[in-house]
């Protein structure tokens, strides 16, 4: 049973109003809302055991240290990683990708080497590789969009792989199209071509079961704030064999074992990559977010999201002059849908939605190469669902779409 009322009850923000109307939050791909449990856990930390970790020889610091490690243990289990040695906390997905590009990438990419990404990446899985390619005079190659522009072209993927990239970095679920990539097959293909592979899981992990051993990727990155947790905490999973040889990016406190005046020894994994005081409240809150997701069950979340998406696609199918991007088959997409209404700029759509109390995103969605391919305005409106959204909210969105068309006198 999926108890939507009980779930909605856990999210205080859903009781608030926006522009005089009950908030309908449909910008979950940007960030999700937080349940009371997560909010309370953070308040509890600051109220009852605030202290630094790894240092204090006293009770509350022990507790904070333990909670911080537990957070990683829970996450390691969540994605079926071997141990917390493979789990590094960063600020967000973007920082996790930069960390790889600036350490591992810096080390293995040489002049004339190839780095492979796709035309549908979020800027955070594009710019760090573009910069690395520039620094090293290496080639940045792109897997093309398919003909329908609903996802990646498999032939193009195979073609690009023949250039033998050293690193392949690709999204799991697209933040614009919603399209899910078959990352298990892509990882296999990458390894067959001696490429290491990074998966940008920012939009997949909130609603797709991740089994890192099954996927067999070298790196997997995501953000807590897109899966009910607090902002300011991101996750880098990396295979232990790679991390062991990887130099740290930042140095300073906590990431060292012993320090002499002219030399030092790095700390054990994963601490070697976490310098200075970490986002303790973030880790604690994130753990509770994972507990919350686990309590419902990722499979149930996925099923619920597919139901919402199916309903949205059916409802928009009856409307004239609207185009919804991405795959038609709901099994191939997560709960994200970008759309266009003929001759109306997405910014105007989002504005009229806002006046109805509905939060959606409009713009280039940090994926300018992709959005420029899809839209002449270089901007799209985007609706994205999460566990607390309902069909009634989709009905309200459909009303808002019709309102937009009325105002602009579009049939």
């Amino acid at each position: 049973m999926y108890d939507i009322d009980k779930i909605r009850d856990d999210f205080p923000i859903l009781k608030t109003k926006m522009n005089g109307k009950r908030l309908i939050y449909l910008d979950n791909a940007a960030t999700t809302q937080k349940p009371q449990q997560v909010i309370s856990a953070i308040v509890d930390y600051y109220s009852n055991y605030n202290s630094n970790i790894h240092r204090g020889l006293y009770k509350i610091s022990e507790k904070a240290t333990q909670k911080y490690s537990e957070s990683k243990e829970i996450f390691a289990k969540f994605i079926n990683a071997n141990s917390i040695e493979e789990i590094i906390y960063t600020k967000n997905t973007t920082e996790a990708i930069n960390l790889i590009a600036l350490t591992y990438g810096e080390k293995i990419i040489k002049e004339h080497d190839h780095i492979l990404i796709s035309e549908a990446e979020h800027h955070s899985n594009l710019i760090p590789w573009m910069q690395l390619a520039k620094r090293k005079k290496a080639h940045l190659d792109y897997i093309k969009l398919n003909e329908q522009k609903s996802g990646l072209d498999i032939e193009s993927l195979k073609e690009q792989m023949e250039k033998k990239p050293k690193i392949t970095a690709i999204f799991h679920a697209s933040n614009v199209l919603g399209t899910i990539n078959n990352i298990k097959d892509i990882s296999k293909l990458a390894h067959k071509n001696n490429s290491s592979i990074l998966i940008d899981g920012a939009q997949s992990i909130p609603n797709i079961k991740i089994d890192i051993k099954d996927i067999d990727c070298d790196f997997f990155v995501c953000s807590s704030h897109k899966m009910l947790g607090p902002a300011g905490i991101g996750i880098l999973f990396a295979k232990k064999s790679i991390l062991a040889d990887m130099p740290p990016l930042f140095s300073g406190g906590d990431m060292i074992k012993v320090v002499n005046k002219y030399s030092c020894a790095w700390n054990d994994l994963p601490w070697k990559f976490e310098s200075g005081t970490q986002n303790i409240e973030g880790a604690i809150g994130f753990r509770i977010a994972i507990d919350y997701i686990n309590k419902i069950g990722v499979e149930k979340i996925r099923k619920y999201e597919k139901d919402l998406m199916k309903y949205f696609l059916e409802q928009t199918n009856n409307i004239k002059n609207i185009e919804v991007f991405g795959p038609k088959n709901i099994d191939e997409r997560v709960g994200i849908a970008s759309f266009e209404i003929k001759n109306i700029h997405p910014h105007d759509i989002a504005y009229i939605f806002d006046k109805q109390g509905i939060a959606i995103r409009a713009g280039h969605h940090c994926a300018m190469p992709l959005v420029s391919e899809l839209s002449k305005e270089k901007a799209l409106a985007r609706i994205s669902f999460y566990i607390y959204n309902t069909k009634q909210e989709i009905d309200e969105s459909i009303k808002a779409i019709n309102k937009v068309k009325n105002i602009f006198k579009i049939e």
């Binding site: 522009n19 109306i344 910014h347 105007d348 009229i352 713009g363 959005v371 305005e377 901007a379």
Partner: protein, 125 residues
């Protein structure tokens, strides 16, 4: 609820904007983006004897940015170059007939910002 922002005047300016196009022999030109929603406007200005002889624009944008571009390019024609420097959001509000509010400020002022940049470059050339 008020949809003032989408008043008849603005919608009609958006659907039939004035001064859409390039000026071949423009002596001032500037392209300005609005990163938030992807508005992208280029203005072309022809200055003659220190007067704005002609002003046009190209690009894509939301209703507010296109309507303001249409209205402001109309407005500046035959004005002195140094008068343009003094124009600000208040003039845009007056031309639109409404206050665009903070969320749409960048859209509303996009063309004016581009015009000012274009003229600044022209003057320092």
């Amino acid at each position: 609820m008020s949809y003032d922002l989408y008043a008849e005047k603005i919608i009609s300016c958006y659907e039939h904007p004035h001064n859409k196009g390039q000026i071949k022999d423009a002596n001032a030109k500037f392209r300005e983006h609005n990163m938030v929603c992807g508005d992208d406007i280029t203005v072309y200005i022809k200055v003659k004897n220190n007067l704005i002889n002609d002003a046009k624009f190209t690009g894509n944008g939301c209703a507010i940015s296109i309507a303001s571009a249409s209205l402001i390019t109309d407005y500046i024609k035959n004005k002195k170059v140094d008068e343009i420097e003094k124009l600000d959001l208040n003039k845009i509000k007056e031309l639109l007939g409404i206050d665009p509010g903070p969320a749409r400020m960048k859209c509303a002022t996009l063309a004016l910002i581009a015009i000012k940049h274009a003229l600044k470059n022209y003057l320092t050339k």
